[in-house]
């Protein structure tokens, strides 16, 4: 098999919450297979090591100070393209 099926591509796109157009689906059938062929080299290895290395950091834990930070509400809201006055709107609720 030199490419993934349409269903497989749509499945991983769903997992990643991504809309794909028809052209992209065709392209990703081949490209995702190319990457998975590499990734499967790990899957097929016989590894005895049982320990994991999740992060190179040796830190155990860090607690931040409890402090209230003031943020500029106006500047934060201005980054949303769905601003509705003092709120962030979610457009489909408005059924527009």
């Amino acid at each position: 098999m030199d490419k993934l099926s349409r269903e497989e591509v749509l499945h991983v796109a769903h997992l990643g919450k991504l809309y794909l157009n028809e052209e992209e689906i065709e392209k990703y059938k081949i490209q995702l297979k190319q990457i998975m062929d590499e990734v499967n080299k790990i899957k097929n290895l016989d590894i005895k090591e049982s320990d994991f290395l999740v992060s190179p950091s040796d830190n155990i834990n860090i607690y931040s100070n409890h402090e209230i930070k003031q943020v500029d509400r106006e500047k934060i809201l201005s980054n949303s393209c769905n601003r509705d006055g003092s709120f962030i709107g979610v457009r489909w609720y408005n059924n527009d």
Partner: protein, 485 residues
């Protein structure tokens, strides 16, 4: 146009102290050079108004440190308060951060001047700067070649002498590879040495911010500025402050160096190997002990990276839903799921979507056991392999890249090419080690770089060896040619 920025950092500092030049002279020279080099496409957003304002303010202040009033370019995945930060993506095309990254506070404390935000592969995913929503960055040495990536804009802005410094980020080689492709010095510090607070996350256990500069000494000076413990980053390390340039000039006789056989394998370009072997011979002649060694599983670096980096990326990039900030579709939407999918499907580019899908897949259901956990075990073995080597050796060295800078457009249909571009740089990120790329030669007017790797928190030792090699080779690479001709 003035050329003060061609002077060394120490010379510029002296001129500022003696009031021979003013900060505004440096800033205006930068923007003039940006205009003259517009075709390189190394900046996404300029900070001209604020940079001029700050330069004028600094005229009345005492020149109290070596980086005072020095212009710097910032990779566009490091957030800057009030200055657009796009990550090279349409998703964040209009995003204005409300706070500064830790490193931005540090360079502000030194009174450096931020000139602008540099172009990069989208969300740092790529090794040729061809995945940016804002277009490809051209190589400073040959405009038909790629700049490397993902910190391509940062590398080119330094190489073309627009700015003396830039900050980049390195997840699998994104500082070192474009540094090698453009003939500059780039350092990935030890994981935890520089706070990631305010760096837009790609793969949190691999990402690290680092300095990019014209030469080794100046690189150490920028690292001096940006390190430090930060409680806003869980992985930030508590270390005493140190001068990273303090070992520069010390004798290297008797040091022990390991070269992994994997780093000189048959897949490495012959010209790169030849230049690297030339350096090895210089070191041997100076009384350095060099051995060739093996590291278990290092040949699996690419699939390892594909699993770990992309798994972390799929999780980190889940926050981009286009609701609170970011790209929002204008399509008619029927439910929340559709809204997320259209916002993300239209906001992200091809490479980012490809990587999110692979990352989501390896983390789904039983795949966690088969792929992700297994990759973490191999990561542990490789990291232990490095640790064991450092019991007997001071350094590990090798070429930075497998190829010279290649033609723009090359490999665009090959989904794995960008990963293999980082074949020799990825292992360092897996183990959290510090590593530098520095120029060691030029072939057909294209620069060649080598890597110097040390044990954790031994950056000062890297600068010592790098400075020696830099002095011996005396390359002084400048893509503009010999200005005295």
């Amino acid at each position: 146009m003035t050329n003060y920025l061609d002077l060394s950092l120490i010379e510029i500092n002296n001129k500022l102290k003696n009031r021979e030049i003013k900060p505004i002279d440096l800033v205006m020279e930068c923007f003039s050079k940006i205009e003259n080099n517009e075709d390189l496409n190394c900046f996404i957003t300029l900070n001209k108004e604020e940079a001029i304002k700050k330069a004028l303010e600094l005229e009345n202040k005492e020149v109290d440190n070596i980086l005072f009033a020095i212009p710097i370019a910032i990779k566009d995945n490091i957030i800057t308060k009030g200055l657009k930060t796009t990550c090279g993506s349409n998703m964040l095309n209009n995003f204005i951060p409300t706070y500064d990254a830790y490193v931005i506070n540090k360079i502000n404390n030194c009174n450096m001047i931020v000139i602008g935000k540099t172009n990069m592969d989208e969300f740092a995913m790529g090794s040729s700067n061809q995945t940016s929503y804002f277009g490809c960055v051209l190589n400073a040495w040959n405009k038909s070649k790629v700049s490397g990536g993902s910190s391509g804009g940062s590398a080119v802005s330094v190489s073309s002498r627009i700015v003396p410094f830039a900050l980049g980020s390195d997840t699998g080689g994104s500082i070192r590879q474009p540094s090698a492709f453009n003939g500059i010095v780039g350092l990935k510090p030890t994981y935890g040495r520089v706070s990631r607070y305010g760096l837009v996350s790609f793969a949190s256990s691999l990402d690290q911010i680092g300095p990019m500069s014209r030469n080794v000494l100046e690189n150490s000076m920028l690292l001096n500025c940006i390190v430090g413990k930060d409680n806003n980053d869980l992985t930030s390390c508590e270390k005493d402050s140190e001068d990273f340039s303090r070992l520069i000039g010390e004798d290297i006789k008797g040091i022990k160096i390991a070269i992994p056989n994997f780093y000189v394998n048959d897949n490495i370009n012959e010209d790169i190997k030849s230049n690297f072997n030339n350096v090895v011979n210089i070191l041997k002649n100076k009384g350095v002990n060099v051995d060739y060694v093996d590291i278990d599983y290092i040949e699996y670096s690419v699939p390892l990276y594909q699993i770990i980096a992309l798994a972390e990326a799929s999780s980190n990039l889940a926050r981009f839903d286009g609701i609170r900030y970011g790209y929002c579709t204008d399509k008619k939407i029927n439910n929340a799921d559709e809204l997320y999918k259209y916002n993300r499907g239209e906001g992200f580019g091809e490479e980012v979507k490809r990587r999110i899908m692979i990352g989501s897949y390896v983390l789904s259901g039983d795949n966690v056991q088969e792929y992700y956990y297994k990759a973490l075990s191999i990561r542990k073995i490789i990291s232990d392999g490095f640790s064991n080597l450092f019991k007997n050796y001071d350094y590990i060295i090798g070429p930075t890249t497998t190829t010279l800078p290649y033609n723009i457009g090359e490999g665009q249909n090959d989904a794995v090419k960008s990963f293999f571009d980082d074949l020799l740089t990825i292992p360092v990120n897996m183990a959290g080690l510090p590593a530098m790329s520095l120029p060691i030669g030029i072939n057909n007017n294209l620069p060649i770089g080598m890597q110097i790797i040390c044990n954790k928190f031994e950056e000062a030792k890297i600068y010592k060896l790098a400075s020696f090699i830099e002095k011996e080779l005396n390359l002084n690479l400048d893509p503009r040619g010999d200005l005295n001709e």
